[in-house]
């Protein structure tokens, strides 16, 4: 639940008085023209935008995490929040390490044991429809995968720590049709078990996967359907 949220960077207001309520366990899409503030808004939901130099936030963001409604600025540190609210960016950003270590990284931060990490790695790679493609190559540098598999790896990594909310910033924009279809299928599946907030400007994609749509224009958000 976002209440009267404004964000300015270096004294310039980029988002104005945004209020929004999203139901649990659905795919919610935010659409709008390029430069309208979609990515900035999404990054505010896990407190990334506010860490930029000169970033200032006004308003309140509350989320149901671990069954409780919490104010993300008052009750959680950014790193605690990001373990519950994972984000995947427009361009895949695998860490410069092996596929296996990429998935293990967020789990190690959470103090998981080695055996459990191995199980979870296989599980999330299967969820991301990537396991069969990479099961023989788990120890290669993740950056050697092509764009589609890299993006699915990033989604798998985001899912590894069992986040309650998943933020996806145009996850298919840099991919070909076939890779994009696989990720769309994955988003649909994910939306059944957790809240997914998807930023996209592909109308057709939004129609296929989202059950709630918001439109961002010049830093103002309005509900579409």
């Amino acid at each position: 639940m976002v209440e009267q949220l404004s964000f300015s960077l270096g004294g310039r207001e980029l988002l104005h008085d945004i209020s929004m309520e999203v139901e649990e366990n659905i795919v919610c899409a935010v659409t709008g023209p390029s430069g309208s503030g979609k990515t900035t808004f999404l990054s505010l939901l896990n407190r990334l935008s506010e860490e930029e130099e000169g970033g200032e936030v006004c308003g309140r963001i509350r989320m149901v995490l671990d069954g409780k409604l919490v104010d993300i600025h008052r009750h959680l540190t950014p790193s605690m929040l990001r373990r519950k609210v994972a984000m995947v960016f427009q361009n895949p950003d695998p860490l410069p390490m092996s596929i296996r270590r990429n998935i293990a990284f967020p789990l190690r931060l959470r103090g998981w044991k080695r055996g459990k990490i191995a199980e979870r790695t296989e599980e999330v790679l299967r969820m991301a429809h990537l396991y069969d493609e990479v099961k023989e190559r788990l120890n290669i540098d993740a950056r050697r995968l092509s764009g589609g598999p890299q993006q699915r790896l990033c989604i798998a990594r985001a899912l590894a720590g069992e986040p309650e909310i998943l933020l996806l910033d145009e996850p298919t924009s840099s991919l070909d049709r076939e890779a994009a279809d696989k990720i769309e299928t994955l988003i649909e599946e994910l939306g059944k078990k957790r809240t997914v907030i998807l930023v996209s400007h592909h109308e057709a994609q939004i129609k296929r996967v989202a059950s709630q749509v918001w439109r961002m224009e010049d830093g103002r958000l309005s509900v579409v359907e």
Binding site: R82, M87, F89, L95, P96, S98, F105, I140
Partner: protein
């Protein structure tokens, strides 16, 4: 015209490379010619039987073995002393320093980098004398003082390489680990530093080379022409650069001068050995962090 300029650039680049290679080779060739015929065993151990020197610690009076040991020890201690402060100052400058702190620390590092080594040696010597006056039991000229002064001398190399390496990391990579829930410190130690480990080790290599070749600093703080016995951190010691300086300026006959050239070749080989070890370590670190891609390339 453009093609002609390109051609000129290529020719000049090749010429520069040739000049570099020729200078490098000529140093080697001159040194190798000078040591031709020199008996390696007597160069290292003089009249002392090598087995007794190596296994039983028998003093070596005429050879460069004590100087070789002294150089290896003082360089290792100096780099060990400088690595942590150097890398952490670099991390501070790249990741935490505000504009003012950045300017001030940067200035200090620049000043330190520009200090002639004799000045660092003199400062080390003065500090040693001051400490000795305050605490009469404090050690006089010894390997520990030399190592500390050398560590001070190589600190800027470590600071700069760490800072530059961290600053060159793309913003996307910098953002990835925090998005997954890593704190800033976890991001630095688990992702950014390992990602740049090769460059950091590059800084250590530079520092090692610089420490190994310096004479002025150790001359004022602990090195002597002859210290044939066992080495200790709190005793005076022999070192190759000083041995070379001493032999080339005070030789009594050509045989002694040839010993100086022999020590020069040994110092070059020792530096080569340090660099080779560091290169292997760089490759190993890269392999450990990035998976097996290194083997499959």
């Amino acid at each position: 015209m453009k093609r002609f300029a390109e051609l000129l650039l290529v020719i000049f680049s090749w010429l520069a490379l040739l000049v570099f290679a020729a200078s490098f080779l000529s140093i080697f060739v001159v040194l190798l010619l000078r040591v031709r015929g020199l008996d390696a065993v007597s160069l290292f151990f003089g009249d002392t039987p090598p087995v007794d020197a190596l296994l039983h610690g028998l003093p070596v009076f005429d050879g460069i073995y004590p100087a070789l040991l002294g150089t290896v020890s003082v360089v290792m201690v100096a780099v060990l002393c400088a690595v942590l402060p150097g890398i952490f100052t670099g991390i501070y400058l790249a990741e935490f320093a505000g504009p003012w702190a950045h300017r001030i620390v940067n200035l200090l590092v620049d000043v330190l980098a520009g200090l002639p080594s004799i000045v660092v040696g003199l400062a080390g010597f003065s500090f040693m004398v001051l400490l000795h006056n305050l605490f009469p039991g404090a050690p006089g000229p010894c390997m520990a003082w030399s190592a500390l002064a050398l560590g001070f001398l190589v600190l800027p190399y470590l600071v700069r390489t760490t800072e530059t390496a961290l600053q060159a990391i793309p913003a996307e990579l910098r953002r990835t680990a925090p998005t997954l829930g890593a704190t800033k410190v976890q991001n630095i130690f688990f992702v950014l530093l390992p990602f740049r480990a090769k460059d950091l080790l590059g800084g250590v290599i530079l520092a090692t080379g610089r420490a190994a070749e310096d004479t002025a600093v150790i001359m004022l703080t602990g090195v002597v022409a002859s210290a044939p016995g066992m080495h200790s951190l709190f005793k005076q010691f022999e070192a190759l650069p000083f041995y070379i300086y001493y032999m080339s300026s005070q030789y009594r006959d050509l045989a002694e001068l040839q010993y100086g050239f022999g020590a020069s070749v040994t110092l070059l080989l020792l530096c080569g050995l340090f660099f080779a070890a560091a290169f292997l370590l760089q490759s190993y670190v890269s392999f450990r962090f990035r998976g097996s891609s290194w083997l499959q390339k």
